[in-house]
């Protein structure tokens, strides 16, 4: 009998297992593939490895001081090899951490048989049953592909295949202008690929602040990406080594696009293998498992976290939910506040955001003020040669509550951490302005934006 069984060894599942073990619980961790989940093996880490490599190439090629850059090339096989090395290192590290906590790991597909009971089907088809006081479902997600698209893994790919492919197409069509589409587009653009993005919605990165979207669109276009919004993909036809993609543009006119490859980045769907919701009486919410604010499902002792429950499909959201669940199991009270979960996008420029967009903040009917600061006015940004970017802070004008922070530009994904800490501590916009930031760094931009919120930025001309 285990105190805690976790199905899924991704950032949600392994965090729950480790935290549970730290609290002295006897923990079982079930993983069908490799510990680390999508994040480590097919998501965050691989893409960041590619983005880093490709960004290096792009920066070198566009350098005004390096010589001989015209002949610079990137070896995609080496890129993939380095990524595999990175993933292997991290997975090994994770395995040894899990081992050090004496967590039992079983490889196989976990089935929730009933509250308190699970079965694991191993690779050799044998099935073992386990009992546990508490069960956390952390099955994760997989790429969601529209039914009319057939992924062949070579010409038509999802990120699962794209992140393991050792050749670079000349021209790629990316279906989906969300986070995944934009990050993948960044990798291809950096490597000089001709990129077309087709987004069904009126804009790319639909959940982000308007100013962020505007600048990102501009940057993508500047880098030569073609962007079609409100574009409905109708058909994908293989034509020898080429792919013909038929879509309806925003005017409703049919268009045809020819490319070497199509990447389907139309979002992700929860993995429900081993969860027979109807048989279990498990309540669902659309495709996702329904949970309350304590991540509890309607079944006793059964929790669900991460991509399986929807919301922001982010590794750190899953980890935060995992910690909350273990706290709740241990008798404390903990909830994950969505407004305090940061969103990070590694695009042409990085995006780091947390809390409400300006539109959402205005919709709350509260009195709000915004403060902005552009990288253009930052000494550090100029010295680094990254002057595209800005920080925007939205705060309640009465109590100074930080409602949202939106950063676009170099290191935005790191910079947002500062805002998240400040918000979590319930500090006010003025607190962000009070903290002394090191010079010359991009962290000063957040401080200046906070100062600008009260129209007191130093490196900004007086408003007349």
């Amino acid at each position: 009998m285990y105190d805690l069984a976790v199905i899924g060894g991704g950032p949600g599942g392994y965090t729950a297992a480790i935290r549970g073990a730290q609290h002295g619980l006897k923990v079982l961790l079930v993983e069908k593939d490799t510990l680390g989940g999508t994040c480590l093996t097919r998501g965050c880490i691989p893409t960041k490895s590619f983005i880093s490599d490709s960004k290096l190439l792009n920066a070198a090629k566009n350098s005004s001081v390096l010589e001989g850059t015209d002949s610079l090339k990137i070896d995609p096989a080496k890129m993939v090899a380095r990524k595999r090395q990175v993933v292997e290192t991290l997975v090994n590290g994770l395995q040894s951490i899990i081992k050090s906590h004496a967590i039992d790991v079983v490889l196989g597909i976990g089935h929730l048989a009933a509250p308190g009971q699970l079965q694991v089907q191993q690779a050799d088809a044998s099935i073992n049953a386990y009992a546990a006081q508490n069960i956390i479902l952390a099955n994760g997600s997989k790429p969601a592909v529209p039914p009319f698209i057939e992924v062949d893994g070579q010409f038509v790919q999802t990120t699962d295949e794209a992140l393991d492919t050792e050749d670079i197409p000349q021209k790629i069509a990316i279906i989906g202008g969300g986070v995944i589409g934009i990050e993948m587009a960044t990798i291809y653009l950096n490597m000089g690929v001709d990129v077309t993005i087709l987004e069904l919605l009126p804009d790319i990165l639909a959940t982000e602040d308007r100013d962020i979207r505007l600048v990102m669109r501009r940057l993508l276009k500047r880098r030569g990406a073609q962007l079609f919004t409100q574009a409905k993909v109708k058909e994908i036809v293989r034509n020898g080594d080429r792919i013909d993609l038929i879509f309806e543009d925003q005017t409703g006119a049919a268009q045809s696009l020819q490319s070497d490859r199509v990447l389907v980045a139309t979002g992700r769907a929860p993995v429900l293998d081993g969860i027979n919701s109807r048989q279990l009486g498990l309540e669902m919410e659309g495709p996702f498992v329904r949970v309350n604010e304590k991540m509890k499902t309607n079944l006793p002792g059964v929790y669900a976290i991460g991509d399986l429950v929807g919301g922001m499909m982010l590794a750190h959201k899953a980890s935060a939910e995992a910690e909350a669940v273990v706290k709740n199991i241990m008798g404390a009270k903990k909830e994950v506040i969505p407004e305090q979960i940061p969103r990070c996008i590694w695009g042409i420029a990085e995006i780091g955001a947390v809390g409400l967009t300006e539109e959402q903040a205005r919709a709350t009917q509260r009195n709000i003020k915004t403060g902005t600061f552009h990288f253009m006015s930052s000494g550090a940004a100029h010295a680094m040669g990254h002057i595209d970017g800005f920080v925007k802070i939205i705060g309640d004008s009465e109590n100074g509550e930080i409602l949202g922070v939106h950063i676009l530009g170099e290191h935005a994904t790191d910079l947002i951490g500062d805002a998240v800490t400040t918000m979590t501590m319930e500090s006010a916009v003025e607190d962000l302005a009070e903290a002394i930031k090191p010079h010359p760094t991009l962290s000063e931009t957040l401080m200046e934006a906070a100062m600008d919120w009260n129209r007191r930025a130093i490196h900004k001309p007086k408003i007349r």
Binding site: N399, G400, E401, M425, E426, S427, A428, E430, D431
Partner: protein
């Protein structure tokens, strides 16, 4: 010989007392039987007499400090006698929570030579006291680390160094906006930091102040609780109700009121008439004046009628003495005086304990009738609801209105039979409905 002055037993139910005034100063000579201090307990104030003749050599307990009864509060010596340095003062156990809640004596008092005592001020080193004063820290909030619980300089330093209250900026602003006091709020954040939701829930609680609380019972409430339980579970109660027509009584009062007021300067109330009528009725049914003592029924010679007086924090029932024998004027005078002193907390123990029968009226409420629990050791209590209009057929068969009220009687069934109680109530009805005859001798 040293004579100890103690707070006397102030009644069987009284546990603690507070000296409100010392009538003698240290060094004054006192005579046995002479009042030397005034003590207050259960809203009752009593002067305490000196147990010996001599010199009030030491006052151990200052005014306004609540201590258990029998606590030694002062020492009387013979003239010229010195109190030995090691004179042992009997410690009186004080529950820890009360000891902690005891207010610290003001600096001026602690500097006076009168102070040191077992249950006296909090021990603190002079340097520590000085620093505490400088830093504006109150002594009772400090955690002593010195031997025997003495507060040392380092304890004050530690308290001064600790941040006052850890609170997030947004929580602070919310508290300021909503006017929520931060004292007593438990922080749910990291290391007890007060977060916004803590202030929010404190604010919600503040709007529903009566709920979600544990309130230690005040002495008065404890007394009421004990007496009510004792009464309810030792005396089997039976209840009787009757409707009494009040027009004659109201008219009677109305008729005599102006002259009564002019003559005596007192305002006669229906209650006064009721007290008198009940007392006269008891003359016909003496058993209603009785109390059970062991295997005997004691029927006191005096009829003292209690009138319930509601205070903010409870209810007390001072008694009008000899209500059968004294005139209405005296009843009004006694009643006015007792009620006034009840609100001021200046009743004597005797006034509270001499009652032999109680009247409890809810006439000012929209309550028709109610039952009451006997006020022990009494055996009868009369209740009275609101006066209301009623339609009735008069002797000529015409529909008329009259004012009536429902009177209830609770009695101790151990010693009073149902028929006796019924007779008593019926007789009272008769008396109240024929006031002129009843009150012939004012």
């Amino acid at each position: 010989m040293v004579t100890e002055v103690v707070i006397p037993m102030l009644g069987v139910t009284v546990e603690k007392g507070k000296i409100v005034e010392w009538l003698k100063n240290e060094g004054d000579s006192v005579v046995r039987g002479e009042s030397i201090f005034i003590v207050e307990a259960d809203k009752v104030t009593t002067e305490v007499e000196s147990p010996a003749t001599g010199i009030l050599a030491k006052i151990l307990i200052p005014v306004e400090e609540e201590v258990p009864v029998l606590t030694v509060v002062g020492l009387i010596t013979e003239p010229g006698e010195q109190i030995p340095d090691d004179y042992p003062i009997k410690p009186v156990s004080v529950p820890a929570a009360e000891a902690a809640a005891r207010p610290a004596p003001a600096a001026a008092e602690t500097n006076s030579p009168a102070a040191p005592a077992a249950s006296g001020p909090i021990p603190i080193m002079p340097a520590a006291r000085r620093l505490a004063r400088e830093k504006g820290l109150s002594i009772e909030t400090l955690t002593p680390t010195g031997p025997g619980g003495v507060i040392l300089l380092r304890d004050v330093e530690a308290a001064a160094a600790a941040p006052a209250v850890k609170i997030s900026s947004l929580a602070q602003r919310l508290a300021a906006k909503k006017g929520v006091s931060l004292g007593g709020i438990e922080g749910s954040g990291v290391r007890g930091r007060i977060m916004r939701k803590d202030v929010e829930s404190a604010w919600v609680e503040a709007k529903r102040p009566g709920l979600g609380k544990v309130i230690p019972m005040a002495t008065m409430r404890q007394v009421i609780a004990r007496r009510m339980t004792e009464s309810a579970f030792s005396a089997p109660h039976i209840y009787f109700f009757t409707e009494i027509g009040l027009d004659p009584l109201l008219n009677f009062r109305h008729e005599i009121l102006p002259e009564f007021e002019e003559e005596f300067g007192l305002r006669l109330s229906i209650n006064d008439l009721l007290i008198k009528a009940v007392a006269l009725n008891i003359l016909d049914f003496p058993i209603l004046n009785a109390k059970v003592t062991g295997q005997e029924i004691h029927i006191p010679a005096e009829i003292n009628i209690c009138l319930a007086v509601a205070l903010d924090d409870g209810l007390i029932v001072p008694a009008i003495a000899n209500a059968d024998r004294v005139g209405l004027v005296d009843i009004v005078r006694q009643r006015t005086d007792l009620v006034k002193r009840a609100y001021a907390g200046k009743l004597t123990i005797e006034e509270l304990e001499r009652g032999t029968f109680t009247i409890s009226s809810l006439a000012q409420y929209d309550i028709t009738h109610f039952t009451a629990i006997l006020n022990p050791p009494q055996s009868g209590i009369l209740t009275l609801g609101k006066t209301r209009d009623e339609l009735y057929l008069n002797d000529e068969g015409a529909v008329k209105t009259r004012k009536i009220a429902t009177f209830g009687l609770s009695v101790d069934h151990r010693i009073i039979d149902g028929a006796v109680a019924a007779d008593f109530l019926q007789n009272l009805k008769h008396k109240l409905e024929r006031p002129i005859f009843t009150f012939l001798s004012l």
